[in-house]
């Protein structure tokens, strides 16, 4: 079975310490987490973890089973890239002077459909949402001009198919 990228979605109670428990499951199997995002979900008081890993389907099934065993985990799902809508967000901090000295920069911003978040005397900040490849492409374009700071978020995703979490919660409540 070959490695693929899987997005694991974990719906859980919002309790201290659960992140440690979940990350430990990956650690035990020596599987590197490519990206991790934790936020509130569409359900009140329910958190959602989105974890991206490269592994085999057998392992991801196994891991999801182990995650679901955790007492505070309500339900975990996994999806391939084809089964989800996903993106990451990145911020680029660049010297303000370049905006005026290097006209090409403005074209890059327009063509990449990224957004200027703020401009100050010394720097400006560009925000770009999209797939990893689009962010990496933008990074490559900015790099020759000098990037003062760069940060990229974990993947966020929603499934194309309905995720049966709300009906599950209704049954549990």
């Amino acid at each position: 079975m070959e490695d693929k990228t899987f997005t694991i979605s974990v719906y859980s109670e919002n309790n201290v310490g659960l992140l440690n428990r979940i990350s430990g499951i990956f650690l035990k199997r020596h599987i590197n987490i490519l990206s991790l995002n934790v936020s509130e979900s569409e359900i009140e008081n329910v958190s959602r973890f989105i974890i991206v890993v490269d592994t085999t389907e057998k392992w991801v099934q196994n891991i999801v089973g182990q995650i679901e065993k955790q007492i505070e985990v309500i339900k975990a799902f996994y999806h391939t890239d084809e089964e989800t809508i996903y993106l990451e967000n990145a911020l680029f901090k660049i010297q303000s002077s370049l905006l005026f000295d290097e006209k090409q920069i403005q074209n890059i911003i327009k063509e990449s459909q990224s957004t200027i978040v703020t401009v100050s005397r010394d720097f400006f900040v560009i925000s770009k949402s999209g797939r990893r490849s689009e962010i990496e492409e933008l990074y490559a374009k900015f790099k020759p001009y000098g990037i003062m700071q760069f940060v990229r978020s974990g993947r966020i995703s929603v499934s194309k198919e309905k995720m049966e979490i709300s009906s599950l919660l209704e049954a549990l409540n």
């Binding site: 109670e13 310490g17 428990r21 196994n62 679901e68 065993k69 007492i71 919660l169 549990l172 409540n173």
Partner: protein
């Protein structure tokens, strides 16, 4: 009524039906101990000699009674000393609640005296853990702890309570936990899966049952027996499934796995339907997975969904409570005898008797006392009625292979973690949980010295456990591997031992040492007749090996008889 957090801890334990706890006091748990002093007529506390002993005693208690074992320790080193026993309980699904003291909330994270992040440390080895920092959280969290520890697939829970939470007062009330939104301990049984399983079993030519501790945890021993007897299917057991079916049951074909019996291992790769009941296909049972029962359709009766297809691909997964599942399948099963198939097990057993068992039970050529014959002697005098608590190593395999059991919950050993030092404190717990039964600990000279200090607990409590040390002056199992797989290079496995009898007598425990075969019978008889604790050291053949054996990574049907 306002009470302190410490008093609330005691009242919660009492509300959960706890009457016995094991522990060791220290600074951060002193308020709880102060309350224990007040409640000592209702809640008996056993002072062990090391916190690890408290966990193993709590495990022994839990395994012998089916109830939740409780261990209490202070913060820092007290808490970290619990970790081995917690890990052992986790992998062997033993219900246990550990309560640790913690530094005050205002000191958390400051590297205060005796502060450790026991929540972080214990996370990978607990079913659940929680740090209480406010007294008012105590009732709800302890109620959850007991519910989680005992429900579904049982396991250990650790509750860490800061010192301020033990001192602070709050309005106490207690309500038992009956459910947690995100936790489904017992999956609902699907009758279509039961029917599918029944059809496979009814059409099987060579069906084979492997059962594990799930039968004991699910209190499904009677159902197992009825299922085996109606279906006529031969049944083998994992090390933790031992004693769920009486040893002398005609369809009991013996132990599976690395040092299991010849027949069930060989025939695992011959059966056409493999029925796994409350077991998890541990690697010590399966050997090489790529060749394990590949010809068989596997039916897995299991409470834990994460175990399905984890190691062995199943044809039918029957998720849920094993007792309920067996009750449901029983009427659907056709009565069969499978005589010729069962005879295959008998034939292989004859081979094992001739090549291994006879020599083990009746050693020839002037060999010293064997571990197997010592077990046979214990069988003779216990009549199969004792609880046998074994440590880890060669003696454990001999104990599990040769001990005879008439009733369930009689085999207590460290299966998954293989914790040397387990047996002495676990025997204390088992005997305190089941004072009506004889409890015999079988321990090697290595493991004994890992928790030897618990002789002090035996002396102080006068708990009448029987301790048998099978002394070969080696770390025997490692030595066996060194002999077989490391060219006889006995690196650090020879033990220069102290005078064990003198040590036991130092704790005022009646003791005897046996070096000659002709003295064994009388010594075991004297031990079993003793009303008090008794220490028996048996000097056994130094370089005896446990066979059969499946070498690591080999296929189960490549089991070696010598």
């Amino acid at each position: 009524m306002k009470i302190s957090g410490a008093e609330a801890v005691i009242r919660c334990l009492l509300a959960e039906g706890v009457d016995l706890v094991y522990g060791y006091p220290g600074g951060a748990i002193m308020p709880v101990y102060d309350e224990l002093y007040k409640f000592q007529d209702q809640l008996h506390h056993v002072l062990v000699r090391h916190e690890q002993g408290a966990t193993h005693a709590a495990q022994g208690y839990a395994r012998a009674t089916g109830k939740v074992g409780v261990a209490i320790a202070t913060s820092g080193p007290g808490a970290t000393n619990l970790v081995t026993g917690i890990a052992d309980a986790q992998i062997d699904s033993t219900p246990m609640v550990c309560i640790t003291g913690q530094v005050g909330k205002h000191l958390l994270g400051s590297d205060a005296f005796q502060e450790t992040d026991i929540i972080g440390i214990s996370t990978p080895v607990t079913k659940w853990n929680y740090q209480i920092t406010e007294a008012s959280e105590i009732p709800e969290i302890i109620a959850k702890a007991f519910y989680i520890a005992r429900s579904g697939r049982p396991g250990p829970v650790l509750i860490d309570i800061t010192k301020n939470a033990q001192f602070d007062e709050f309005e106490f009330s207690y309500e038992k936990c009956t459910g947690i939104r995100s936790y489904n301990p017992v999956p609902k049984l699907k009758l279509d899966k039961v029917a599918e399983a029944a059809a496979l079993i009814n059409n099987a030519k060579k069906p084979f049952i492997v059962f594990g501790q799930g039968i004991i945890l699910g209190q499904a021993e009677e159902q197992l027996k009825a299922f085996i007897e109606k279906s006529g299917v031969p049944a083998g057991w994992t090390i933790l499934g031992l004693s769920a079916l009486p040893t002398d049951h005609p369809l009991n074909v013996g132990m599976l796995g690395m040092h299991g019996n010849y027949g069930p291992n060989m025939l695992t790769n011959e059966c056409d339907v493999l029925i796994a009941l409350g077991m998890r296909f541990d690697d010590r049972v399966t050997g090489k997975l790529a060749t394990y029962a590949k010809q068989a359709k596997v039916i897995h009766f299991e409470i834990d969904p994460a175990e399905i297809d984890k190691n062995v691909k199943t044809e039918v997964a029957v998720l849920g409570d094993v007792k309920e599942a067996l009750n449901a399948i029983l009427p659907l099963i056709e009565k069969r005898s499978h005589d010729s198939w069962h005879n295959e097990f008998k034939e292989l057993y004859k081979i094992e008797v001739e090549s291994v068992i006879n020599e083990e039970l009746n050693p020839t050529n002037g060999k010293g006392i064997s571990m197997g014959e010592t077990m046979e002697m214990i069988n003779k005098h216990s009549k199969g009625d004792a609880i046998i608590v074994s440590d880890v190593g060669q003696h454990q395999m001999f104990a599990c292979r040769y001990a005879k059991f008439n009733s369930t919950k009689s085999n207590i050993t460290s299966g998954g973690l293989g914790t040397m030092g387990f047996a002495l404190p676990a025997a204390i717990g088992a005997k305190m949980g089941r004072p009506d039964r004889e409890v015999v600990a079988i321990i090697g000279d290595g493991g004994f010295q890992m928790t030897i200090q618990e002789l002090g607990t035996i002396f102080q409590t006068q708990v009448p456990v029987k301790i048998v040390i099978l002394n070969n002056e080696f770390l025997g199992m490692v030595r066996q591997w060194q002999e077989l797989f490391f060219d006889n290079r006995y690196a650090s496995t020879k033990m220069i031992n102290p005078n064990f009898v003198a040590i036991a007598e130092g704790y005022h425990i009646k003791s005897k040492k046996v070096t000659q075969r002709e003295d064994l019978d009388a010594a075991v008889a004297e031990m079993m007749a003793s009303k008090d604790s008794y220490f028996l050291e048996v000097m056994v053949e130094k370089e005896n090996n446990v066979f059969p054996m499946i070498p690591t990574g080999a296929c189960v049907s490549e089991i070696r008889l010598s």
